[in-house]
């Protein structure tokens, strides 16, 4: 325990964004810009069936008619969508029989990131789908999982091998008409992960997708589709990093989850895209649409997120509680430092009877950052005995930052009980004094208090991620004190 603490503190002293390196990999890119031809080109490169191309084109048409929404509490400079490369893929051999076929450069990249693609080397059973720039490079443990009937592969593979499943569920939770970035993603998405857990199967290992932006001037648009059939269970992790660059890069992803009767899905994210430098130069724009539907009765979807990176974060992992007695959860820690901005939260739509939702959101702002919680709890007319509890706390470190709370609570049913509470404050001098007086210096004391503050959420993370997330918290806040 002591050792781990020391390790955390050693990490604290390293202020740098340690994933900011860039790997020289031969990359296959297409020219900058966005038009119908580009959409067709991406589709052609992926050798997609006709229906998918049509879907992309419809989405593109829709996107052209839409305008970038302005309602978020964010200041985003005008994005030139013609100045982005919409497809970049590391060049490598077409088929990968074993891990040895993966480009050593690539493997090294992931080793550096702490993600081993080498199955034998892995201590814990975590199956990884590694996505670099626009494509999935390797999915580990596919075979082991296949034995149980679990499909875990890249999205493009799924399009080819399981077209019926993809066609049935893709766009069913986040239709391309949903919002500006969902439409953009639906038009140009490159790859992503697909996961199907068959009836009655409890997935024996954590499934994980690791996203890495590597190439310059590219946008990353991936799509994740996760279907949990009746009485199944899966825990899914997502991590992401990007090189340090002076220009902003766009990341607009879509995540869809379908939980059938009595299924349970746990989706955890540790988001650590490059946040830009101290003056707000560079960094990733992270505009993500994440939504899950509890389709069957007694189903459960749980979102856990630790948001430490990105120059601008704009995302609201949501739950549609359609099945009776279904449960939605949202646990979030969002840390912003320097010039970062985050507008994040959740939506809980109670449609079925006896549906329950819990929202725990902890915001930490430091430096000159702006951190907002925005959430909607809507209890529909027929959602009898719906129950919601929301708690949104904000911690302010420094007098130049901002913390905001924008909850929307709409109740159309008299048997519903909806509670919301929020507080905003700084770490009290009493607490720090208490620690100081016991020989804990201020920097350490802050780290201690912040970790305690975020513990409620960090506890929800799977073991492997919890440790990483704790370290991340410490690093993100380095230098923000006093």
């Amino acid at each position: 325990m002591k050792n781990k603490q020391d390790e955390v503190l050693r990490e604290v002293t390293q202020n740098e964004y340690k994933y900011g390196f860039h790997t020289d990999i031969e990359t296959d890119t297409i020219p900058k810009g966005l038009n119908e031809d580009v959409v067709r080109l991406i589709s052609a490169k992926k050798e997609e069936p006709e229906w998918l191309l049509e879907y992309r084109l419809k989405a593109f048409d829709r996107w052209k008619q839409m305008k970038m929404p302005k309602w978020a509490h964010l200041t985003i400079p005008e994005i030139n969508y013609q100045d982005i490369i919409y497809y970049a893929a590391p060049k490598q051999k077409v088929s990968l029989e074993s891990i040895d076929d993966v480009d050593p450069e690539l493997r090294e990249t992931f080793e550096k990131l702490g993600i081993s693609l080498d199955e034998q080397k892995r201590l814990t059973g975590v199956a990884v789908d590694a996505i670099i720039d626009s494509v999935s490079v390797k999915t580990t443990f596919s075979e082991t999982l296949a034995e149980m009937g679990i499909i875990f592969c890249s999205f493009s593979e799924a399009v080819h091998n399981h077209p019926d499943l993809v066609r049935k569920y893709m766009g069913s939770v986040v239709p391309y008409t949903d919002n500006y970035f969902a439409a953009l993603n639906s038009a140009v998405f490159s790859d992503g992960s697909f996961c199907y857990i068959p009836k009655g199967v409890r997935c024996p290992m954590e499934l994980s997708t690791y996203f890495r932006i590597n190439a310059a001037n590219t946008g990353q648009f991936e799509r994740t589709l996760l279907v949990a059939d009746d009485e199944s269970y899966v825990s899914y992790l997502e991590g992401c990093t990007a090189p340090m660059r002076d220009e902003n890069q766009l990341h607009a992803a879509v995540v869809e989850i379908v939980a059938m009767e009595k299924a349970e899905v746990k989706y955890s994210t540790v988001q650590n895209w490059y946040p830009g430098d101290k003056d707000g130069k560079g960094g990733i724009y992270n505009f993500v649409t994440k939504r899950g539907i509890c389709k069957g009765n007694y189903s459960k979807i749980s979102w856990t997120q630790v948001e430490t990176g990105s120059a601008v974060t704009w995302k609201y992992p949501s739950c549609i509680l359609k099945g009776h007695n279904s449960i939605g959860e949202f646990y979030s820690v969002a840390v912003t430092n320097n010039m970062q901005q985050a507008d994040t939260g959740t939506k809980m739509l109670h449609i079925g009877r006896n549906t329950k939702s819990t929202i725990i959101s902890k915001g930490i702002s430091a430096g000159k950052s702006q951190n907002s919680y925005r959430g909607l709890v809507r209890v529909m007319k027929n959602a009898e005995n719906a129950r919601n509890f929301s708690q949104c706390d904000s911690l302010l470190l420094g007098d130049k930052c901002g913390a905001h709370t924008f909850p929307y609570i709409e109740t159309d049913n008299s048997s519903a009980i909806v509670e919301h509470e929020a507080t905003t404050s700084k770490i009290s001098e009493d607490q720090i004094f208490y620690c100081n007086q016991r020989g804990i210096e201020t920097e350490k004391a802050i780290s201690l208090i912040v970790n305690g503050y975020a513990k409620e959420v960090l506890n929800k993370l799977p073991m492997e991620f919890a440790v990483e997330a704790q370290k991340l918290l410490a690093i993100s806040l380095e230098g923000s004190v006093g």
Binding site: W71, H73, K381, S394, L396, L397, G398, D399, K400, C401, G402, A403, H404, T405, F406, P407, Y408, I409, E410, T411, D412, N413, S414, S415, A416, I417, V418, E419, H420, E421, A422, T423, T424, S425, K426
Partner: protein
């Protein structure tokens, strides 16, 4: 032709009459307001602030507008006598948006206090009015305020000089009474100089059964150390729609309390904007709404902590029955450097029927770190266990329900400082919850329903 365009044209048509009614400095203010209105228009549902309340619907009917005071062929005392025991008030009446004069329209008391018609004050004390008029509502105002600024001809003006007190609570009664669907604009301006104090009780009633839309603006300036206490009872009929826009500007160490009790009415939107412009200010905004049938009650509160060491409290409670809709939209803004701010915001609601709806949007926007701000919002129903507990002790279910609702509402009523008024509102709320008409005993006016006064 859109509604907005109609008002723009109407203004062009009536500009002459409006200019003639007020001193020249008003012309420019009116003109600018209309200019602003032509840009903004009446806020629609796309506007974040009016997301849950459709103004289009209440602006839809063809309303007539009044450009001069109505002729009065009856004595107000005959039809309206407020019998609140021990409430020794002076009664001021705003009839159809115009100050109803008894002998004179503007009085100056020995201690320098001025009470009376705003239109008259604009003529008699132009420099005093100019210093404050439209200064607090003017900047960044929305279409409703602009519309009011352009069209409002009169209202109540109160000036309390340094160190003076208004004494007993002043009762202001707003009465719409016409023989036709009418849109009313009136404007109040209350100026509280340093260390002055005043208590005002405002009652909104309706005297005739037509469709009314009242769009009022009240500006309150509380100078250093001033104490201002504002209570409002809204008790109108279902076709009477109210839009109230209150702007409170507070200076050092001042304290302003506002308490709005809504009993009856159609669509009601209460906008309360508070600017804490110096250190040591205290702002308290309370509201209670009891809504049934198709009522729609929307309370919007915006408290702007511009300077350090200020405190603010918001407490809003709603009981919603039948198809009623309640909306609460509260915002606390703590500006950079407004350190040591204490701000609280609470919104509790009870839904009594499956058709009733509640939309709640409590917001915190905080740019300073050494603050303590919190908010809480709940929506639910009466606790079955508590009801059972009372029933098991021989209290009938109906009575037990009433007791609990009454206790729920009491927290807000308790904040009213004028004791006789508090007792009366207690009484009204009690009656209201029992489903009886909540009219005062001796008053011949029927606020709930409507025999026309002859």
């Amino acid at each position: 032709m859109s509604t907005n365009q109609e008002y723009i044209e109407l203004f062009k048509e009536k500009e002459g009459i409006l200019d003639k009614a007020s001193p020249s400095f008003m012309s420019e203010i009116r003109h600018d307001a209309m200019e602003n209105f032509s840009k903004t228009g009446i806020p629609d549902k796309k506007s974040e602030l009016y997301k849950y309340t459709s103004l289009q619907k209440i602006f839809e009917p063809q309303y007539s507008m009044l450009f001069q005071p109505s002729k009065v062929d009856f004595k107000v005392e005959d039809i309206f006598s407020c019998d609140v025991p021990n409430l020794s008030t002076r009664l001021e009446v705003i009839l159809n948006g115009f100050y109803l004069k008894e002998k004179v329209s503007l009085r100056k008391l020995d201690n320098g206090i001025i009470i009376g018609s705003l239109a008259e004050a604009q003529k008699k004390y132009p420099s005093l009015v100019k210093e404050h008029f439209n200064k607090y509502a003017g900047s960044g105002s929305d279409g409703l305020v602009s519309l009011n600024t352009a069209f409002a001809l009169d209202g109540l003006f109160i000036y309390v000089p340094k160190g003076q007190s208004l004494g007993d609570a002043l009762q202001v009664v707003n009465l719409p009474m016409t023989g036709i669907d009418t849109l009313l604009h009136y404007r109040n301006l209350f100026i509280m100089e340093d260390n002055s104090s005043a208590e005002i009780v405002v009652c909104d009633h309706t005297l005739s059964p037509f469709r009314f839309l009242t769009n009022s603006v009240t500006e309150i300036y509380a100078g250093p150390g001033a104490r201002f206490n504002y209570s409002r009872v809204q008790n109108e009929h279902l076709n009477s729609n109210l839009l109230t826009n209150m702007f409170i500007h507070q200076e050092k160490d001042s304290q302003v309390k506002s308490n709005t009790v809504t009993l009856h009415g159609g669509t009601i939107r209460n906008n309360t904007n508070v600017l804490l412009n110096a250190e040591g200010c205290d702002s308290q905004v309370y509201g209670l709404s009891l809504a049934d049938r198709t009522q729609h009650i929307d309370n919007y509160v915006n408290i702007d902590h511009a300077k350090p060491n200020c405190t603010s409290t918001q407490l809003f409670k709603g009981i919603l029955d039948d198809q009623a809709t309640g909306v609460f939209n509260g915002r606390i803004l703590v500006r950079p450097d407004a350190q040591k701010t204490l701000a609280y915001q609470t919104n509790n609601n009870i839904l009594m029927s499956d058709e009733a709806k509640m939309k709640s949007k409590p917001q915190l926007e905080i740019y300073a770190d050494d603050v303590r701000c919190s908010h809480g919002a709940t929506t639910g129903q009466l606790d079955e266990n508590a009801l059972f507990y009372m029933q098991s002790r021989g209290i009938p279910r109906k009575e037990a329900r009433l007791l609990m609702l009454y206790a729920f509402a009491h927290e807000v009523i308790d904040k009213i400082e004028v004791v006789p008024l508090k007792d009366r509102i207690n009484d009204l709320v009690n009656k209201r919850l029992r489903g009886e008409l909540s009219r005062c005993n001796n008053c011949s006016m029927a606020c709930g329903d409507l025999p026309l006064p002859k």
